[in-house]
């Protein structure tokens, strides 16, 4: 190559030399083809290579599940998401720490479920468990002692309570009883007592369990003593509990810091008197030391022996000084080991009264001339009226005793003082025959019975 200071002596020749040098230096720029681009071959100046214009371009796309490739190459390939995705039902899929918002599950399968009737429940925070199906007729029951907090139990239905008048709703015989030592009267319907010291048993209307109207109150007598109150379950009902687990519960309050107890007992005799029969304790008795005005639950459990024919629950007060009280409400005996919410044996007050009247019923008249018994009597002579009538419900057995006060026979013209009224021959559980004695009535007139003075009553007992 000539320099600017060279003497141009042969311009064509010099120009050829110049041209050849340029051609040599730019040789790599020659060649190539349409669409190719230059690429540096080495780091040497002017060292190039023509290459295809595909650097950084997408040359192809492989479609996965749910994707369709419309144009697989660049510069802008085209893909689309299939709207009808074919689910992979055979390959296990794991979602970890994913939140599904409002998922719609069609025929989901949950691995916890093992068998027909299994119920999924929570056993702890964020933890699922199953409860296997119970026996036919059983219901789910909340039970904090159960592994999962819920379990199956039968008899969660009306009639589960084997104690009649457990709510102390029915007091046909009166509302307050001065009970002598070694006496065993019935007090609230179906509830009797037997103690070595005198006490008072009465209907409590102020301090009662929530939702209840009444409770039974024992008030200590002159001699400091503990007192017992019983209810016997007749054999026809008790036999259903033989060889089964039962639980008895009762609510208790009264004078503070006194401990009361509840015991389940059985007898191998049929229908013994609840107070005076021969009874044997069974299972675990319950106790509670009470606070005045606050009801505590006393619970006793037992498995009733297969030989049992009768059952009673025994409520024993702590030692009461004169005037101290023990108040009890909502007594219940049921199958199982967990005491459930109280319900009446007869479901409604009408049902409960009917259950009580199977053992005892009383017609009362508060005022003179109040009616006690309708015109169901007649006297074949002037002295011996006979009354034949049906009790309000069929009694347990033919009645065995009459309670009465201030009664007279009436024939709509005259009242005749009844000097005695006794059970007649031929009594049955559903037809009762009473024989009275009067001094001089008119023979063959229909006779009723009314009150000859205030506070009259006629009671028929078929109690245990």
């Amino acid at each position: 190559m000539p320099t600017p200071v060279d003497l141009v002596t042969d311009l064509p020749a010099d120009f050829e030399v110049f041209g050849q040098a340029v051609d040599t230096a730019l040789a790599d720029l020659k060649g190539g083809t349409t669409g190719q681009i230059l690429s540096k071959t080495t780091n040497t100046d002017m060292d190039f290579t023509w290459i295809a214009n595909d650097q950084g371009d997408i040359t192809g796309i492989t479609a996965g599940t749910g994707i369709t490739v419309t144009s697989p190459t660049g510069p802008v390939p085209t893909v689309s998401i299939n709207t009808a995705v074919t689910a992979d039902l055979t390959t296990a899929q794991t979602l970890t720490n994913k939140t599904l918002t409002s998922p719609v599950l069609t025929t989901p399968s949950i691995s916890n479920i093992n068998a027909k009737g299994d119920v999924l429940i929570g056993s702890a925070d964020n933890t699922l468990a199953i409860i296997s199906v119970g026996n036919n007729g059983e219901s789910l029951l909340a039970d904090s002692t159960a592994t999962n907090g819920i379990r199956y139990q039968g008899s969660i239905t009306a009639g589960k309570n084997f104690i009649i008048n457990g709510g102390f709703d029915v007091w046909q015989r009166g509302t307050s009883f001065s009970v002598s030592a070694f006496n065993f009267p019935y007090t609230a319907d179906r509830w009797t007592t037997f103690n070595g010291a005198a006490c008072t048993i009465s209907q409590e209307t102020s301090t009662v369990p929530t939702g209840a109207n009444y409770a039974l109150k024992v008030t200590g007598g002159a001699t400091t003593a503990a007192y017992e109150v019983f209810q016997g379950i007749e054999s026809l009902n008790a036999i259903r509990l033989a060889n089964k687990a039962v639980v008895a519960t009762i609510l208790a309050t009264g004078t503070s810091a006194i401990t009361h107890s509840l015991t389940i007992e059985y007898s191998t005799s049929v229908d013994p008197n609840a107070a005076t029969g021969t009874w044997t304790g069974v299972g675990t008795a319950g106790t509670a030391t009470v606070t005045s005005g606050t009801f505590s639950t006393i619970k006793a459990t037992a498995t009733i022996p297969s030989t049992a024919k009768s059952i009673r629950i025994k409520v024993t007060t702590g030692s009461l000084t004169s005037g101290q009280t023990a108040i009890f409400g909502n007594a219940q005996l049921e199958l199982g080991t967990v005491g459930t919410e109280f319900s009446r044996a007869g479901a409604t007050i009408a049902g409960e009264l009917a259950l009580c009247q199977r053992y005892y019923f009383r017609n009362s008249g508060a005022a003179t001339n109040d009616m006690i018994l309708g015109f169901c009597g007649v006297s074949g002579t002037t002295t011996a009226p006979v009354y034949i009538f049906q009790p309000p419900v069929t009694m347990r057995v033919a009645p065995t005793a009459i309670d009465s006060a201030n009664l007279q026979a009436i024939d709509q013209a005259t009242g005749y003082a009844l000097t005695s009224l006794t059970l007649g021959a031929g009594n049955q559980a559903n037809v009762i025959r009473l024989v009275g004695v009067v001094s001089a009535c008119v023979a063959f007139r229909p006779l009723a019975i009314n009150a000859s003075a205030n506070n009259a009553f006629l009671g028929l007992s078929a109690e245990l």
Binding site: F184, F194, N273, T276, I402, S404, S420, T422, A425, V435
Partner: protein
């Protein structure tokens, strides 16, 4: 205090005689029952009193 007396009642029509215990409760109230029932109750009560004293 209970006062117990016994009476015999002839049943109209049949002439059968039933013996009853009449318990006077002392407040105008009476309880009556067959004498046999009364005696059975007394026997049960006696047993329980002995048991309670033991």
């Amino acid at each position: 205090m209970d006062n117990v007396s016994f009476i015999k009642v002839t049943q109209p029509m049949t002439g059968e005689i039933l013996e009853h215990a009449i318990i006077d409760r002392g407040n105008g109230e009476f309880t009556s029952m067959l004498k046999s029932t009364y005696e059975a109750q007394q026997a049960e009560q006696s047993k329980s009193m002995i048991s309670a004293d033991e």
